[in-house]
Symmetry: C2
């Protein structure tokens, strides 16, 4: 076996970070906790839309929320991203290794011996 045989990684975070707006929200929260209104003010979409994104982020574990008076403070909780990182890690060798670059080179002159590289 060429690569590590690991169970399929699944986590709601994968879905959560697939949306550009949600990623932008997370990016903003890297500067510190923010209230719902303040977050929404920095986006073109409506406030309820942001609220729904925040809900998704909370449900995926990427953001925590707690009340403070009449406002609610949202805060980044990055730990679930570790799952994504873990999945990604298994691919790093395919873009970072010398072998990967060698492969790229060989592919520039089609050998036609494709499936020889790994068939179970």
């Amino acid at each position: 076996m060429v690569t590590d045989q690991t169970k399929p990684v699944d986590h709601p975070a994968f879905r959560a970070i697939s949306d550009p707006t949600r990623r932008a929200i997370l990016d903003g929260l890297r500067d510190g906790p923010r209230t719902s209104g303040r977050i929404a003010a920095s986006f073109l979409v409506s406030r309820p839309a942001v609220c729904k994104h925040l809900k998704i982020l909370v449900n995926s574990g990427l953001v925590r929320v707690h009340k403070r008076g009449r406002e609610r403070v949202y805060e980044l909780e990055a730990r679930p991203l570790e799952k994504v990182e873990g999945w990604l890690e298994q691919y790093r060798q395919f873009w970072a290794s010398r072998l990967a670059r060698l492969k790229d080179y060989l592919e520039s002159e089609q050998t036609g011996a494709d499936e020889l590289k790994g068939n179970s």
Copy 2:
């Protein structure tokens, strides 16, 4: 500024890897190039469904394809994942640093001085 100020990262790969089936397809391709039929055979969903997933993966740049006789060989192209990795990297400090763990500890006894940590 606490964190690096970077342009919002966007790439079709984020959407592509949000689906569990597509991630499983990529996982399989780590063992080497495979034909469409062989890939489909290892999934419960129908062959056309796998075809559509493969198309999405090709369009996102995560998979390359070339014909060989009457079959088509799909091959992993991991480089776009570097974009995802780059975005993720900006969050590593939030789950890996000593500061992050200190924050976690402090949060276990609500101080109420939330937004003091970073307001522009």
